[in-house]
Symmetry: C2
Subunit: 193 residues, 2 copies
DNA sequence: TCATGCTGTCAAAGATGTTCAACAAGGGCC
DNA sequence: GGCCCTTGTTGAACATCTTTGACAGCATGA
């Protein structure tokens, strides 16, 4: 039901750090029994306990739950197999779109002169970052606006309102990554960026 | 102590979906009281309860714990402010290195002819993907080897053994992303890729 | 062989999380 | 006003998680 094996995941992380249950327990401020029971999946730990334990390794909770699913996935993507999402002007090529199990989406973005993600600022869950490869782009995040050239980069919390705009007169190329993936679900085509 | 406000995070997600405590509880198979108490941080829910609740929205647990920390972070990175990690031959420019709170690291990689991540295959936690910008690279993942050209891309589970090698005679440029970040901690300089 | 120190497991007692059922506050409507 | 429906909160009972303290297994070394 849970779909995620908390016990084995914890054990694997603990062993990879060569810690005993008692040693980890001591660092985490819990008892060895707690760790034993959790590793056997005899109990479902409280978030606070789990956090204490992970902090002692240290492993972030989100890291702990990353890899929430497993399967044979495509690894290599010839440019012809990238999934293109365009709205007439700008073009986004997704590396392995519609794969909900991934923790990131990677996008090869092409903004022709004048391209703009829109006056209404984008806001959504997650984080995103990227590197400008060619041309230049005007990026606004919250109330800060900057002009980024080839070689420059950015990284921000996607909950901050943001907007991309090519105000120059040559195409701008960016490679970006988002987590969690914005375009992974086959359903709606919301223009998260 | 916890450093992460489970209650408010849950409330925020619930409200953004315009669900009442009772409605969410019903879908999740728990009671409204549970949700009320969690949102007030009166209790630290068990992982199983939290998972039931998140599944009902739906939100993955890793998504839930993604912005695990908040603070004013640098957004814009002029190329001069990228952190370069090199070993003489290959060069990796990190976008905002040493920021443990991030869920991804983004790297502008330059492989001169002959550059190689080494005969001993790389293996580590997480996922990684990228796009080849210029030149060509030989990428091996598990027992599959491919030659990727400019415009091609890749994505794989970093636990699979992997190796990058520039077998051509021109520099290869890649923009890649990793999650969780491989180079975020100020401590050791392990060559995760 | 016996002692020592480590490992992981487990039963019972104690602490914490969850449910049930009741309650007050607010809005809409007659 | 009165009624009805919704909302979120809370006390007491119940279920679950955590600790305490013990145990067996397996090394190392006297």
């Amino acid at each position: 039901m849970s779909g995620f094996d908390v016990g084995n995941r914890l054990k694997q992380l603990r062993l990879s750090r060569e810690l005993s249950q008692r040693e980890l327990a001591k660092r985490a401020g819990v008892t060895n029994s707690t760790i034993s029971l959790i590793e056997q999946n005899s109990v479902s730990p409280s978030v606070s306990s789990l956090k204490k334990i992970l902090d002692a390794m240290p492993v972030s909770i989100s890291e702990f739950f990353a890899g929430e699913s497993e399967s044979q996935e495509q690894v290599f993507y010839p440019s012809s197999e990238l999934t293109e999402i365009g709205d007439g002007t700008l073009s986004w090529k997704l590396v392995g779109a519609r794969r909900p199990n991934r923790s990131m989406s990677i996008i090869h973005e092409h903004y022709p002169p004048g391209a703009d993600t829109g006056e209404e600022m984008l806001e959504h869950e997650g984080e995103e970052g990227g590197v400008v490869i060619a041309g230049a782009i005007e990026l606004q995040v919250a109330d800060e606006v900057r002009q980024l050239q080839a070689g420059d980069a950015y990284y921000f919390d996607s909950r901050l309102p943001h907007r991309f705009r090519n105000t120059g007169d040559s195409e701008c190329v960016i490679v970006s990554a988002n987590t969690p993936p914005s375009f992974s679900d086959g359903g709606d085509e919301q223009h998260h960026v």
